[in-house]
Amino acid sequence: MNKINFLTANKNNLYVYLYTGILLFFISIIDVSLGSFFNINLTSFLPGSISFMLPLFLGFIGLHLIRIEYSGIKPLDTLNKNINTNSFNAFLSLIIIFVIIKSLPPLLSWFVLDANIAGDSKDACTGSGACWTYIKIWFNRFMYGMYPNDEQWRINLSFISLGFLGTVGFFVTEKLKKYLTLYYVVVYPIIALFFIYFFISGGPIFFDFSYGIIALVVSIIIGFFIPSKFKMYYFIIIPITIYILLKYVFFYEELIELGKLETVEWVETGAWGGLSLTFIVSFFCLIFCFPIGLFLSLGRRSDLYIIKYISIGFIEFWRGVPLITVLFMSSVMFPMFLPEDMFIDKLVRVIIAISLFEAAYVAEVIRGGLQALPRGQYDAAKSLGMGYWKMHIFVILPQALKLVIPGIANTFLALVKDTPLIFVVGLLEIVGMLNLAKTNPKWLGFAMEGYVFASIVFFIICYAMSKYSYNLEQKYKTER
């Protein structure tokens, strides 16, 4: 049987088909647009359902008529290739175009045209659209939580200074570049910690362990300058010595009291909140979970069986449970495991819990990179006489980490998206603040505006992060 060429253009009647098709297509679009924007129904004389379906029908015929292969007209060919390859595609394209046209006016009217932003109370919102007044009034709370208004400059100043310190890597000279890793892994987190401690908090949020942390960090720094032969023993002796020195010789607690700025008022962590808390939590979890994950992944691939199986057990445990139960654990179960007089701040507990949780995911991502490296790299490094740490620091990790940048970025993205879960322990970051504002008797009934606002904020942050990680991936893509 011959192929049926129903209404298909040929060379002789090309333009007749072209003009009829384009005309029908435009009529259909104009009909829908008029109906959608100005509420005018051109075909109201027809029965309801036919009048509703007519544009689709007209547009479909129009697209069929202009579906001319190799017409030699460039825009037409592009159009055909992209939205009009066959009847099914043409149908779907039409539906998508019509849905976009139909949904534009209600969206526009809700977001902009009928929305209110003036005034400072609920009564100002008279239109049928969104009440952005609500966001405007509560904006401060959504950003800073219950942090006292007069003290908010402290958060701003800390974030701005930390932001500047974070970009140091772009400005240093070639000569200093080798110290950058040290700076970002050790120095920068400590600076950040001090900012949070002395400036944003201005009071006791840390606890007995802070000696331990300082002892560990100082010993890592000293460790860099110790010959590798004795390293293992130094790492056992130094932290303990420093711990004892800090606690009993220098009276660390009094030092901390001395170092406190007199003018800075203490704001307890319960009052922190809003987007700034989202940033603080994600920032610290990000800093802590990376090294923990790195060591776990190395542990999992180690040939020391005990370390290997402890790492496997640790990773699989955290990967197997939902974050919400981990937070439950940190809030109700963990205090049972501590001595009665030992108090760890809620925020610190949450940061530890999320860091351990995400570290397991980071570890698996890094393991993927380590596994992807060919054995020859290990053998070559060993044949040069490198030990375990030297081999990993100078040969294996730089290559493996480069491979897993997108994976790690995805994990960090998941971390940022997981921060709202801290509402479980009663910390209110931006989503938590929204739920609080929603139940305020003066501002009932604006849940939609709040969630849309928070969605936009999170979308901007997460989308920027994912695009940045994509760029990094492209940049570090090395030919193999």
Partner: protein, 383 residues
């Protein structure tokens, strides 16, 4: 044998640290529990729970035990996960294929959907559906019926229920149909290997699936009628629907948010899987004379599935774990019923949190063992 001290030292130290930390925790836990007058043990599971749960699949009220409350929570978690997995798979596969479409508009629409829903925290999406979108639904008395029998109201989604007579006969007939389909498939494979002839397995399967259950109606005595929900007045201004099945709004919001969120990840898995099948494979298959359908069925799909299934299972697991966010909108799942209400009543933090974690842990470990087995089975055997 040369004993390796260099290897022994770090291992001994690690064990020491682990034992010290655990010892420290256990000691403190003992002291704390003694002070509060609690003894460690799982005996409380058989005690009367004396709290109610709004929505449960099995019969439950306050006179039942804590263990039964645990089961109620677990079943609710499984229910929302299964619903979410089914919807997420459907949306994910459609969007994943749409992402590969040559049609610019379709591809862009799918991409916008993926980028948008993937980059917003799941918790925010659950809140949005529950507190903003579903609250805009009409009251029961003002609800417009969809297709005459479904009622979507602010109090939940009311759907008709099937009331069965002799349900077991019907189920047996379906089981029999599935078993016979498996036999047909085995027979068809053997026949193809022996004679090279193909049997229309698909048509035979559809026929079997239709005929056997129909037989159960006419011969086996199975029958059902549909119970349509009807409006009922509770008080002057309070209405509800009676009859049929009620899906609470929490369940709808949670299932919707979970499936829309997870579908974006499944879509990416599907896209990666289909793209991962080399162009040469399709061309080679076409060049030996397979029809386009056969190319898809015999060459592309088996290879694409090998790439798609492992990460997709991972997403199913994530969905199940994420269903614990139910606690935020008071859908009575495992975390809310057991780690929330039961914990508040008994104060047994260690026991309850550990049971909850172990439940999720065993769920994910069993699935990952299954996955490893499957991966090994389908891995390309290279020589």
């Amino acid at each position: 044998m040369n004993f390796n001290y260099k290897k022994l030292l770090p291992q001994t130290l690690t064990i020491l640290v682990v034992i010290l930390v655990f010892g420290f925790f256990t000691y403190n836990a003992q002291v704390n529990m003694e002070n509060r007058g609690i003894t460690f043990g799982y005996g409380f599971l058989s005690q009367e729970s004396s709290f109610d749960v709004q929505f449960s699949l099995i019969e439950y009220d306050g006179s039942h035990s804590y263990f039964r409350a645990y089961l109620v929570g677990l079943l609710n978690t499984i229910l929302v996960s299964v619903i979410g997995i089914i919807i997420a798979t459907i949306i994910g596969v459609i969007v994943g294929i749409a992402r590969l479409s040559k049609n610019y508009l379709i591809e862009r629409t799918a991409a916008v959907y993926v980028e948008f829903f993937r980059n917003i925290p799941l918790l925010l999406q659950i809140f949005f559906w529950y507190f903003a979108a579903l609250r805009a639904l009409p009251l029961p008395q003002k609800a417009e019926p969809m297709f005459g029998v479904f009622f979507l109201t602010i109090k939940g989604f009311f759907v008709p229920a099937f009331i069965w007579n002799n349900l077991d006969v019907f189920i047996y007939s379906i089981l029999a149909a599935i078993i016979s389909i498996i036999f047909v498939k085995i027979y068809a494979n053997k026949k193809q290997e022996a004679e090279g002839k193909q049997t229309p397995v698909l048509y035979i399967s559809i026929g079997l699936l239709l005929i056997l259950p129909l037989l159960s109606f006419f011969i086996g005595g199975a029958s059902f009628y549909v119970e349509v929900p009807a409006l009922k007045q509770l008080a002057k201004t309070s209405f509800t629907y009676e009859g049929g099945v009620k899906l609470p709004p929490e369940l709808i919001a949670l299932a919707l948010a979970l499936s829309l969120y997870t579908a974006t990840f499944i879509a990416e898995c599907v896209r990666a899987g289909v793209q991962g099948v080399g162009k040469g494979q399709k061309e080679a298959a076409a060049s030996i004379g397979l029809t386009p359908n056969q190319v898809l069925k015999l060459v592309v799909m088996p290879q694409a599935l090998r790439i798609i299934i492992p990460p997709t299972t991972n997403q199913y697991l994530n969905l199940t774990k994420n269903s614990s966010l139910a606690a935020a909108i008071a859908y009575p799942d495992l975390v809310l019923v057991f780690a929330g209400t039961a914990l508040m009543q008994t104060g047994r933090a260690i026991e309850i949190v550990s049971i909850t974690m172990l439940t999720y842990l065993s769920l994910s470990i069993s699935i990952s063992i299954l996955m490893n087995w499957y991966n090994k089975k389908i891995a390309i055997k290279e020589k």
